[in-house]
C-alpha cells in the first residue's frame, strides 16, 4: 500500500476510534489494534505502539473538554489512579510468575457477570442512591455537571469507595499482568461499584487512561514499537475524533452510553474466556 493511501485511510479509521474511545472511556486500542493488524497488515508491535499513543491522544482531546464541563472529575480520577498505578506496577512485576490462562478465564467470567449487571441497569438514567460513604465525603469524591439531555444540573457523590479502590487496583494489576488496557474495568468500577453517573464514569476514565498510558508509553518507545510513520495519522485522527466524541457524548443519555458500552464488555468477556481456553482471537 502506498504511504499516502495508508496515511489517509488510517487517519479516517482513527477518527472513528477516537469518537468511540471518547464516548466510552476507552483508549480506542480495542478497536485500533484489530483493525491495524487484520485490515491494514500492521505488525502487532507497531499496532500496540500506535494504540498507546491513541490512548494519550484520546485523553488529551476528550479529557480536556470533559474537565471543563465537569463531566470528568479530576479529584476522583487522581484518587483512583493511585490504586490503578500501584496495581499495574505490581502486575508488571508479577507478570510471568502467575498462571496467565487461569487469570484470563477468571477475568472473562467476571466480565460476563458485569455484562449482566449492565443489562440489569440498562434503563437507569442516574444511579440509585446507596448509603453515604464517609471516605467519599472526606476526599471530596463528588461533583456536579450540567446534563444537556436532562436539561438540569446533576449532583453526584461516589459510594462504596473501598470497593472502587480495590477494583481499580485489580484493574491495574490485570492490565500489568496481561498487557491489556484497563479503561473498560475503570468504567465498570465507577459506574457499577461507585455509582457515579455513567457519563461521569467514562469521562473520568478518559482522564485516567491518559495518565497510565503516558507512564507505559516509554517502554513501547524504547522498544522501538512506535513508528512515527504509522503513529502520526493515528494520533491526528484520534485527537480529532476524541474532540468530536466529547461533544457528542455531552448530549447523550447515560442509558445510551451504557448501551454502547455493553457490546465492548461482551466482546472482552468472550475474548478473555477464549484466551483462557488457549484460543487467541488476535
Amino acid at each position: 500500500m502506498s504511504l499516502v493511501v495508508f496515511s489517509i485511510a488510517v487517519l479516517f479509521t482513527s477518527i472513528g476510534a477516537g469518537v468511540v474511545g471518547a464516548i466510552l472511556g476507552l483508549g480506542g486500542g480495542i478497536l485500533l489494534i484489530p483493525i491495524l493488524t487484520l485490515f491494514y497488515g500492521v505488525d502487532i508491535h507497531y499496532a500496540m505502539g500506535a494504540s498507546i499513543i491513541s490512548v494519550i491522544a484520546t485523553s488529551s482531546g476528550a479529557a480536556a473538554a470533559y474537565l471543563r464541563t465537569g463531566l470528568s472529575n479530576l479529584r476522583v480520577g487522581l484518587f483512583l489512579v493511585m490504586a490503578t498505578i500501584s496495581g499495574a506496577m505490581l502486575g508488571a512485576f508479577l507478570a510471568g510468575v502467575v498462571p496467565v490462562r487461569a487469570l484470563e478465564l477468571i477475568l472473562g467470567l467476571a466480565l460476563s457477570y458485569s455484562a449482566f449487571t449492565i443489562i440489569r441497569q440498562l434503563q437507569d438514567e442516574l444511579p440509585e442512591r446507596l448509603p453515604e460513604d464517609p471516605l467519599a465525603i472526606r476526599f471530596g469524591l463528588e461533583g456536579r455537571y450540567y446534563d444537556f439531555h436532562l436539561e438540569r444540573e446533576v449532583d453526584y457523590r461516589a459510594r462504596r469507595v473501598g470497593f472502587g479502590l480495590t477494583a481499580m487496583f485489580g484493574a491495574g494489576l490485570l492490565s500489568g499482568m496481561l498487557g491489556i488496557g484497563s479503561g473498560a474495568f475503570k468504567v465498570l468500577a465507577m459506574d457499577y461499584l461507585m455509582r457515579l453517573p455513567m457519563k461521569v464514569s467514562t469521562a473520568t476514565s478518559n482522564f485516567m487512561i491518559g495518565l497510565t498510558a503516558s507512564a507505559s508509553a516509554g517502554i513501547y518507545f524504547s522498544r522501538g514499537d512506535i513508528n512515527a510513520l504509522i503513529v502520526a495519522p493515528v494520533a491526528m485522527g484520534v485527537l480529532a475524533g476524541a474532540y468530536l466524541g466529547s461533544i457528542l457524548m455531552a448530549r447523550m443519555r447515560n442509558t445510551t452510553v451504557r448501551k454502547l458500552f455493553l457490546p465492548i464488555v461482551v466482546y472482552l468477556a468472550i475474548s478473555m474466556i477464549l484466551r483462557g481456553l488457549g484460543i487467541h482471537l488476535l
Binding site: 479529557a63 479530576l74 498505578i85 471530596g140 512515527a228
Partner: protein, 142 residues
C-alpha cells in the same frame, strides 16, 4: 472541598481553576504534539519521502526502519542532523504528546496548593511520583 462543589455551568466561567489548568495543559500538549507531527509530515512530503520510502508494516530484523526512534537522544540527533530528519520532528511531537499527561499532573500540584487543597496537592504529588517511577523503572524515555 468547596472547589468541587462550585457550579460548573457551561460558559459561566465558574469552572474550578485546577480543572481548567489541567484541561488547558492537556489540550495545549495535544495540539503542540499534533502541530509538530504535521510539520514533520509536511517536511517529509516536501523532501519526497512519501515517494522514496516503503512503509515498513513489519519490524525488519536488526536496525530500525525510517520513522522509528527508540530514545529522546535519537530524536534530538535527528533534529540536529543537516539536512534535518523530518521524521525526527514528527517523533518530537509524539514525545511531547506522551509527556503531556505527566506535565498536567505536575502543574496540578501548585494549582491545588493555591486553591488551598493540600490533600489533593499531596495526592497529585503521589501520582506524579508513581508515574515517574514506573516510567524510569520500565526503562522508558531516556
Amino acid at each position: 472541598m468547596s472547589a468541587a462543589r462550585r457550579a460548573r455551568r457551561p460558559g459561566s466561567g465558574h469552572v474550578p481553576s485546577v480543572e481548567h489548568l489541567v484541561a488547558r495543559t492537556l489540550l495545549a500538549g495535544g495540539l503542540l504534539g499534533i502541530a509538530l507531527i504535521l510539520a514533520g509530515g509536511a517536511l517529509y512530503a516536501v523532501h519526497g519521502g512519501f515517494h522514496h520510502h516503503t512503509l515498513y508494516l513489519n519490524r525488519p530484523p536488526g536496525g530500525s526502519p525510517p520513522g522509528v526512534f527508540t530514545s529522546v537522544r535519537q530524536v534530538l540527533d535527528g533534529l540536529r542532523r543537516r539536512p534535518l530528519d523530518p521524521l525526527a520532528v514528527t517523533a518530537l511531537g509524539l514525545v511531547g504528546l506522551m509527556a503531556t499527561p505527566i506535565v498536567a499532573v505536575a502543574l496540578a500540584i501548585p494549582a491545588f496548593l493555591r486553591a488551598g487543597d493540600r490533600r489533593y496537592a499531596a495526592i497529585a504529588a503521589i501520582v506524579l511520583a508513581m508515574l515517574v517511577v514506573s516510567l524510569t523503572v520500565a526503562g522508558g524515555i531516556h
